[in-house]
Amino acid sequence: MIVEVSGLKKAYGSTAVLDGVDLEVVEGSIFALLGPNGAGKTTTVRILSTLTRPDAGRLRVAGFDVAREPVAVRGAISLTGQYAAVDAEQTGRENLVLVGRLRRLGRAGARVRADELLERFDLVAAADRRVGTYSGGMRRRLDLAMSLVAAPRVVFLDEPTTGLDPAGRATVWEAIRDLVRTGTTIFLTTQYLEEADRLADRIMVLDRGRVAAQGTADELKSRVGGERVDLRFASAGELEAARRRLGGFADGERRVLSVPSDGSAAHLHAVLDDLRSAGVAPSRVSSHRPTLDDVFLALTREGAAA
């Protein structure tokens, strides 16, 4: 295990941000920490990358104790935070060379490494322009490139694609997959279920500082059952009446009720009959395999009800 955490706790004042988190990450895998805003994802990453001190817990990263050997941990990891940690007034190349020198590659070594990374992240044409003129996607790519200067064993990525357009997101995903092929371990946080689904070997769902669930994407999906039937209603009143009758998860904004199903026509018939006897009729019906969204809603709603 390249990352081992047990009993991690952190509170700011009387607010518990992390309330007893345990996790393990296998070397060379992609681990995704999934959760809504305020779940404690960023705090977890900051603690693991030695920026924030935990209140309690045993933490090891790359074989080093985070509390006792922070300098050794820093030598083995890199962090790409939520806000691009790049100097807007320096060029892309200057940013990379600076990190190379601080990673002790020497002046010449830092230049060579900068050239390699500019090539790999498709930034050669923009290399000598100030970062202030870059697009959001280019900035993020540079940020990621700066994290890879010293070939770290564990790369922490805090919401690496938040705020990117679909093309920018695809480039970052590709870079992450490339990285894992070279044996690097990726620890990422995300609010996007699709991102975790596509990239991660293991997913942990964090909700208000506690582990709500963990496993592979398939394991998590199987927790909500085989298929889902989505029933759309014309009014909020009908949606509420249907939810009282059938249970499931109601999305008030879209006026959609999602209920588990075995995928058979007979079950769908039964559901519609049931609704008719309650005096409501859905305007549209669709059925699909469960997505991580369903898992996420299920897990975090359970928490909210408790």
Partner: protein, 252 residues
């Protein structure tokens, strides 16, 4: 130790690049002292009697005002760094904390050396006639550099505690104000008693008197040692405070 040196060199290079590209600050750090000097020499100068050509009296004061202004902008650049993600990246790397501040401070000293040279050149054009020997020049420049170094560390410390670039600018305001309450522009014996007591015992007056004495031959007396003691003391205290404040700010 060699790591600390090469890391510092890399960070100094960064800060100098950032300062060079921050054209507004760069221009202001030269233009403001030039304006002040013109103002004092040609506008107020005729009415101020210091017993010598006023330009010879005021130039050392202008130099101190100039480096005070230049050093104060270090607070802004440190605060700017703290507000952005770069500090987090540096902290998650095996780089010693003081290296980040060293970059800003050394760049500040270099920037001030350049703007001071420009201001001195302009002063000579306005009629400033220093009578210093090479040794006196070296002593004056050395003292000014030491003073700038101390002020830059003080400013770096203020930048590390400031919650924003704006508050860093406000915190460093007194650095710009102190020269007015010293012997920079008028001899202290012309001031009311209470103000005079303050201005004679604040650190800027002995530094100015020493630089003035070295450059224009007015008596230095004990001011030289007092100026040196103030500067070294301020440097030690500011360096320690800045490093501690930076650590405390970046630990949570």
């Amino acid at each position: 130790m060699s790591h600390a040196l090469s890391d510092s060199a890399a960070m100094v290079g960064r800060s100098i690049r950032l300062a060079r590209r921050n054209t507004d600050t760069l221009i202001m750090s030269v233009v403001l002292p030039l304006l002040m000097m013109t103002l004092f020499v040609y506008v107020f100068g005729g009415a101020i009697n210091t017993g010598t050509g006023y330009v010879n009296y005021v130039v050392p004061g202008i130099l101190l005002l100039c480096v005070g202004y230049g050093a104060a902008s270090t607070a802004m650049s440190v605060a700017d760094d703290m507000a952005k993600g770069m500090v987090d990246r540096l902290r998650s790397m095996p780089v010693r904390p003081f290296v980040v501040l060293t970059g800003h401070v050394v760049a500040s000293v270099a920037r001030n050396a350049v703007s001071t040279a420009i201001v001195l050149g302009a002063a000579v054009a306005m009629g400033f006639r220093p009578s210093a020997s090479p040794v006196e020049w070296a002593a004056a420049v050395g003292l000014l550099l030491l003073y700038v170094l101390a002020l830059s560390w003080l400013a770096a410390g203020l930048g590390a505690v400031a919650k924003s670039v704006e508050s860093a600018s406000a915190l460093s305001f007194f650095m710009l104000f102190l020269p007015y309450l010293s012997s920079a522009f008028v001899p202290t014996h012309t001031m009311p008693a209470a103000l005079r007591a303050f201005s004679e015992h604040q650190p800027i007056t002995p530094v100015i008197e020493t630089v003035r004495g070295l450059l224009t031959g007015t008596p230095v007396g004990g001011d030289g040692w007092v100026a040196l003691a103030w500067s070294v003391g301020l440097l030690g205290a500011s360096f320690t405070a800045a490093t501690l404040l930076y650590r405390r700010r970046t630990r949570d």
